[in-house]
Amino acid sequence: MLRFKAAIFTLLLLLLFCLSAAAQTAEELSDTAALEEPVYEIPRLAQVTNFEAKDSPDDAGGEIELTWDLSVDDKKEDGLVSKYVVLRSQNPTSDFHIVGVANHRDSSYIDKNLKEGTDYYYKIVTFPKYQGEVRLTREEIDPLMEQYPELTELDIKDVSMLAEYDRDIMSVFDDNILGISRVAGPVKSRAQWFNSKDLDTLIIGLTICISVVIFIGMARGGRKLFLRRIGGLQAIENAIGRATEMGKSILFIPGIQDMDDVQTVAGITILGRIAKTIAEYDTKINMPVSRSIVMTTARETIKEAYLSAGRPDAYSDDMVHYITDEQFGYVAAVDGIMVREKPATCFYLGAFFAESLIMAETGNSIGAIQIAGTAMPAQLPFFVAACDYTLIGEELFAASAYLSGEPKQLGSLKGQDVGKFIAMVFIIIGAVFATLAALTGSEDILEITNMIKSWFSA
């Protein structure tokens, strides 16, 4: 209590001092709330305990993690604490500035954008809830904020509470008026060379990748691998043959995404195989594209296919032409091409969005054979409904390997199956433990389940 009185006394002295020193501000302050009404008392709250600061793990540097146990005044749901103010300094005794605010009932904070290798010291201030009205006006708050930019971390109400209490706001944080924790530090932030949280992912990824590589190697070594037939791929050759018989062209749509989408890359690799057959059959191919890089790549691909089919003279750059990057503008043009040229066969292989059905329905209306393939789950139903054959998700990526017939490419598909097998095994094991845990209510089994789950929670 004595301390409070002393504090109020100091405050009044300070105010008087301010009055005489700065005439301008004094005029504004003197006859308003500050003097006439009793000054708001800041309740002193218990400080946080077990306050620690350490370099935050698995980051790119520049971050420090602070942890603490809640103040005793914050243990209840409706406690007196409104927030924890985080202060930082580069020396242990002075120059602490506000760097951030954590909500009440939070017990950690990550300080970001720090300089690596510098020593930092931290304090936590337990900040009380403000019960009164906001009394200071903007004209009073704004210069304060300008003087102490770090106050922007606080609410207007908080600043106004502090200002009422003590005009020299930052000194409040240095005084022992608020519940201030011990100083933690020194602590440096460092960047890590390995993100240990990703270890599970690394192991799973490596297992899958290595099995793919092993099977590629085995296939290269001459080992015969069995692969089942895929309906849509069998149909490709027939579809090209049909176009040849009818003397009509083949339309190839590689989706509306750029080369930075792996589905487009998959579409282009399939194009390489198809174009070879087309060159052999001496059929026309028409390929409108919506991205310039796709245009360049597709030209290289088709040229190569014609060359390896022994018909370089039949190739022309006009086979691939750019239309527009705009999704629906592209579709409008493709629809126009379809009804005017009436291609016998349409391929849609790549990444598609809402335009999928517009194209597939128009293609259907001109009686073309349509073969589609995409890994966009939302568009698959439309292709399934409107096209003759659809390569569903994974089949799109496998198609070029299938069509190539090269053993090493086929080997990679076998490796993929190993990945599926691993997935199924873990799903079964996980489900069995999870079910046992749910039915028996056993804590031990639950722990095992959670452990398995945590491997797959990256």
């Binding site: 909500n103 906001v134 903007r138 609410d155 207007i156 329905e361 209306s365």
Partner: protein
């Protein structure tokens, strides 16, 4: 040649492979006729819609309602009816209305809404006293995070360039916490979710939402703890309109109800599609039965 083929086909055959343009006509009619006739059905409001209605309805006159326009022209057909009906309801209740946009495309929509609804239908409403258009400010969720504590740091003027300090209805508004209800229109990013996370939760401000039907399921989990209520798509608009009409028949009799009208169009179109599916299957089975018979005879 092609004509001959067509004529030689049996009726069943022709019906089974019906020219799709007939379907297009039916769909077009299914949408146009209900809209032209202005048909509307009464809709029973679902609890999540009713909750938002009650919140607006129970606010005393003079309470502050912030409407944030977080959508663009492509989703406007779905969202605009909800904007209109909530704005009308608010004006009827005498609330002070603050318009703003977190989407750049929302700016022109605020102006348009004021011109189409507020000025002609509520001539008593005076700019600066009863409603204000704060316009668009960049910053997405960052903007929300700032104005939750301090409105004037981001808004020194309104959308017309008037100094905010001169606007009477902004005098008592320090931050979003002075709002009695915030309704965000639009389910994209930033949208209702950001309003909940960066304004509703930290500032304890009631948040309501109105979004497209597609994005509604992702927002249900926030109701009722973090969100007052939600209108999902045209159905949500229709339910709200129907309920307002039910409660304030005199004032709303003459007002347009685009949501209810569109809902009828949508339902009719749905039913037409379903009828076509049924019809197609019946034809298919009749055709197959006939073919089988022919095969047996042979």
């Amino acid at each position: 040649m092609a004509n001959d083929e067509k004529n030689n086909r049996g009726l069943l055959d022709r019906l089974q492979f019906i020219d799709r343009r007939y379907i297009f006509i039916f769909i077009a009619l299914a949408v146009i006729i209900p809209l032209l006739l202005g048909l509307r059905f009464e809709e029973k409001p679902s609890p999540i819609v009713l909750a938002l209605y009650d919140k607006v309805d129970n606010m005393p006159p003079g309470s502050r309602l912030l409407m944030s326009f977080d959508y663009g022209p492509t989703t406007a057909p779905e969202i605009q009816p909800m904007v209109d009906v909530i704005l009308r309801h608010a004006c009827l209740r005498g609330l002070k209305v603050y318009l703003m946009a977190v989407w750049a495309t929302g700016q022109s929509l605020t102006v348009q809404t004021v011109e189409d609804v507020l000025i002609p239908e509520f001539p008593d409403y005076e700019y600066g006293i009863d409603y204000i258009n704060l316009g668009y400010k960049a910053g997405n969720q960052g903007l929300i995070r700032v104005i939750v504590d301090d409105m004037k740091r981001m808004y020194s003027t309104d959308a017309n360039g008037t100094d905010i300090e001169q606007v009477p209805m902004m005098k008592q508004v320090e931050s979003l916490k002075d709002m009695d209800l915030i309704v965000s229109f639009g389910g994209g990013f930033p949208g209702i979710k950001e309003w909940i996370l960066f304004a509703g939760d930290p500032g304890a401000i009631p948040i309501g939402g109105a979004c497209t039907a597609v994005s509604a399921p992702q927002l249900y989990p926030y109701y009722p703890n973090q969100m007052v209520g939600l209108l999902g798509g045209i159905k949500g608009a229709a339910e709200y309109e129907s309920h307002v009409l039910d409660r304030y028949p005199d004032s709303f009799k003459t007002k347009p109800t685009p949501g209810m009208n569109m809902m009828v169009a949508q339902m009719v179109a749905h039913i037409v599609i379903m009828l076509f599916i049924v019809f197609g299957n019946v034809m298919y089975f009749m055709y197959r039965g006939k073919e089988r018979k022919l095969a047996m005879e042979k």
